[in-house]
Assembly symmetry: C2
Homo-oligomer: 130 residues x 2
DNA sequence: AGAAAAATGAGAATTATTCTCAAAAAATTT
DNA sequence: AAATTTTTTGAGAATAATTCTCATTTTTCT
């Protein structure tokens, strides 16, 4: 673990919640002036792949990073961009409310493997096994 | 309604489902060679604001456009990018399934007005009224 | 038809993020 | 500890989707 990685991890864990890469970059820069933006991005992605931090991707917003690992969702303010945590269990309820009162809007992005691609992968694996 | 707008609307309604702006652009170009990309984007956004078509925004994917107006969600294949419709009523259920079996991943993007901004707006409206 | 308003198209601008690659740092081997 | 290999860094270029600008064209209104 390099010094840069340590600084970045600590910043995500201790400084502002729901930070953007750029916010982390500026914070990191103030204690390590030579650090590069690419390094910040590289490590943020790496740390989130390792499960040490969580990357929050939202439609229309820049990615943010969070220390909280357990499953929860986020709501972004249309005006000021502030982000707050919302509870997974309430989603269905909140969605229903939202659809009625238009108190909020949401976009659900689901990523899967479609039937065709699943079949393709299974075929490939069978070939390797043969 | 300009000719361009008519062509664009018709293409969304009749050609490929879940088209990207670029796909619409190329299709439009083949029957109206002079059309510009900016015009396609402009009209797609306008049409979706008018509620005549629907813009599908997804984390990590380029925007797509859909003729289907009623509320439903979409699932994108991680490998080939193909998109299929999924039913709104099953969201909570599907999310739960997803969390258990990791058959798919999802990102929920909620957009709202935070308390502070709501208060700000109400204050402004009160001032105008006074 | 003529004037005013709106829409178009070409290309520049924007923005967040990733990529490239030479130099620096870290890890490993002797 | 020196030498060698591997990994990581940092600067800036590249990318890619979308929006913006603005002169020109088209449409609308009278």
């Amino acid at each position: 673990m390099t010094k840069q990685q340590q600084v970045i991890l600590r910043l995500v864990q201790t400084s502002c919640a729901h930070c953007s890469a750029d916010e982390i970059y500026r914070a990191a820069k103030s204690e390590m002036p030579g650090i590069g933006l690419a390094t910040v991005y590289r490590n943020l992605n790496q740390l989130s792949e390792e499960g040490k931090i969580r990357k929050i991707e939202t439609v229309g917003e820049t990615d943010r990073f969070d220390k909280t690992l357990n499953q929860h969702e986020h709501a972004v303010c249309r005006m000021c961009g502030s982000m707050r945590d919302i509870n997974v269990e309430n989603i269905a309820e909140e969605i229903k409310k939202g659809l009625e009162g238009m108190e909020f809007t949401y976009e659900l992005s689901v990523h899967e493997l479609c039937k065709e691609c699943r079949a393709k992968i299974e075929k490939q694996q069978a070939e390797i096994g043969a």
